[in-house]
């Protein structure tokens, strides 16, 4: 009997020993192409840097697919340790307390250091709860910026527009020079969500949705938002703006081919654009309306954050915490920043990139972070709205109808208001 006990003790301790030696954690994300490769490289760097944890990243397709498959996995108890959730899906996961462990708690519980002040101002709120506690760990953050075809601006003899009024003044010259003056990808993000941030306009009741889900309603059929789209439609009719549907790439392609003077895109597109653009280009802040009082505030953080899913062992959570700390270290942030074009999320990383002289070499890379560091306003902080991916779909549908002449901007935003509010009410019921 004694013998058996000894043997089993030894066996047990061996198993425990090997488990202690290395804890496996998983990371589901929604990135492909070059960005997906960089995720693999960073995971490898983490695995090489220590022996206790082994991180395995896995691409689940798009952002939406990463979120859906994590939800399905959570319901069957097979969730990954870490999931990447995009801006529009943030409310879904943050309104399900119990699905995630707030990143800040996770890191502090594991005995690692954490300070909110280390992060640049623009990224502190979007993935945090009402007390400012980080629920998600900001990861790939981007800002919508204005890319410009250098040749087009030289040929037309015009300067980069600061405001949309400036754009209206120079657009005919760009057109005369033989270019489509502007295209923009993902109007939902650019011309609604960030229109609200850049011009300091309220987007939804209940403090843009941050204060709760009950009774939250959109504020989109207001004068200014409708004006933005009246202008876009008028520009499209005059050949000053090219609308190529809801697809990201369809609006980017003519810019890459050098046919378009300026493209409103993501700072995260910089990595890819350096390879795909067939002409020299530069970038500047996304324009705002000089006519709107208090406009010119920062854009809110786009992109995605990492969430630590609940229901995992302490060892695994410790590894996840360790990885989050690793990820926010200046060296890793700079590596990520320089390889993808996403902005560094900590002050220290930004300083390091500056010291290295990265922005002297590539000034475009600094535009996004500078725009996120502009002075904030009451309404520049973004939004937290449930079923938001569906609300975006409604907007995309109505925008197509605006530009094909089936509806007017006012009528379109009335529809968005009505269907969006119905979705928000539905979401409030699901989490009630």
């Amino acid at each position: 009997m004694l013998k058996f006990a000894t043997v089993s003790t030894i066996a047990f301790s061996t198993i425990a020993g090997s488990a202690m030696a290395q804890t496996d954690i998983s990371w589901w994300h929604g990135m492909g192409g070059r960005n997906g490769e960089v995720i693999n490289e960073i995971s490898q760097q983490f695995n090489d840097a220590q022996d206790a944890c082994k991180l395995t990243p896995l691409s689940r397709g798009t952002y939406e697919e990463a979120l859906s498959s994590s939800i399905a996995a959570f319901r069957s108890g097979e969730q990954p340790n870490i999931v990447q959730v995009f801006d529009a899906g943030a409310a879904t996961i943050m309104n399900a307390p119990g699905a995630v462990i707030p990143a800040e708690d996770l890191i502090l519980n594991a005995g690692e250091e954490f300070s909110r002040d280390d992060f640049i101002a623009g990224v502190r709120n979007f993935y945090a709860d009402s007390e400012g506690k980080f629920v998600g760990m900001p990861f790939n953050s981007s800002a919508p910026i204005m890319y410009m075809n250098t040749e087009a601006f030289e040929k037309a003899g015009v300067e980069a527009p600061k405001t949309w009024e400036d754009f209206e003044a120079i657009a005919p010259k760009l057109k005369d020079a033989g270019y489509i003056p502007m295209t923009a990808s993902q109007l939902t993000w650019m011309m609604v969500e960030n229109f609200k941030s850049r011009n300091n306009q309220q987007f939804a009741t209940n403090n843009n949705g941050y204060d709760g889900v009950d009774g939250t309603q959109l504020i989109v059929n207001d004068e200014n938002t409708v004006m933005m789209f009246d202008k876009l439609k008028a520009w499209a009719d005059d050949g000053l703006y090219g609308f190529y549907g809801a697809g990201w790439g369809d609006n980017l392609k003519p810019f890459e081919e050098g046919k378009v003077a300026m493209w409103i895109g993501s700072s995260g597109s910089f990595g890819g654009l350096q390879k795909s653009a067939q002409m020299p280009f530069t970038a500047d802040f996304m324009p705002y309306w000089g006519s709107i009082e208090g406009a010119g505030t920062q854009s809110f953080i786009g992109g995605a954050a990492l969430f630590a899913m609940a229901g995992k062992s302490d060892e695994e959570n410790a590894c996840t915490a360790q990885f989050f700390s690793f990820l926010t270290s200046p060296e890793v942030q700079v590596y990520w920043h320089e390889n993808t074009g996403y902005v560094p999320i900590t002050e220290a990383a930004y300083e390091l990139a500056k010291e290295e002289g990265y922005y002297d070499e590539k000034p475009v890379a600094e535009v996004g972070i500078k725009q996120l560091m502009l002075p904030g306003g009451e309404w520049s902080k973004g939004y937290r709205l449930g079923f938001y991916p569906q609300i975006r779909s409604v907007m995309e549908r109505e925008f197509n109808r605006i530009f094909s002449g089936e509806t007017t901007p006012k009528a379109a935003f009335d529809t968005i208001q009505q269907e969006g509010d119905a979705l928000l009410a539905r979401f409030a019921k699901t989490s009630g």
Partner: protein
Amino acid sequence: MARLRGFWEGSSRNPAKRVQFDRPLTPWLFVLPQLLIVAIFFYWPSVQAVTSSFYLEDPFGFGSTFVGMDNYTDAISSREYRRIAGFTAFFAVMVTALSLSIGLLLAVKADKVIRGASAYKTALIAVYAIAPPVSGLIGMMFFDMHMGPFTEMAAWFGYEMKVGINYNDTAFALILVAVWKQIPYNFIFFLSGLQSVPVSVREAALIDARSGWRRFKDIVLPLLAPTAFFLLIINITYSLFDTFAIIDVMVKDKPANNPMTLVYKVYLDGFKGNDIGGSSAQSVILMVVVAALTVAQFRFLERRVHYG
């Protein structure tokens, strides 16, 4: 075809084909694996869908509220849902009618080809080997707004084709690709159906009627009816369900104002919107409609089909 008929009429009309088992449980043992598969992959998920269609659920499954028929009334009262349902019906009719008639036409013509027949057939059948997402991708490139050959062709006629922005243009592109993908399938079945028409019957017909169209209408077509009936059901199912991948690829994951089918809407609300209750209700509606349609076809259409 005999299998379909046996299934519907019951085996009692064919006593000669009955197999007798000594023990009553033995036949059940043989069908058990199939029954298990049907139960696990069809009945169980169906029951789940019906159940969750009566609830509003938070995506992570922490809580669900019983809402009765709300999800159904929400779906049916939505203007957008009805618009999609309308397009789905139009799409199914167009795709089925076009791919059946073109498949039949090609099969009749191929049946007459003597020299180079196999090369001709191979060329027609080859398309069937293309996976739906790939055919969607091909369609996407053909109709690309910036460089698609079809877009350029339309431009010769002074038409600015905008697949992805213009609702009708996208509908046209979707139907074209879906039909193109399905023609070979219909072609194979019609061709083999034509080749099983006995030579003696054709020769007899040749004596009775000089007109090729009359011979086709009175002799060949009735003999093809079982094949056509089978293909009708398969094509409707195809246009309703299997075109998903084509649509997904061609609208590039962002449907916006583009036409889509009800199945795509179920996916959009359930998997992208994480609205499980609403999406379940839609899939139950779809299930009921398709079941009713299939039963109706068997009841009313199959009576006219003669199985030789």
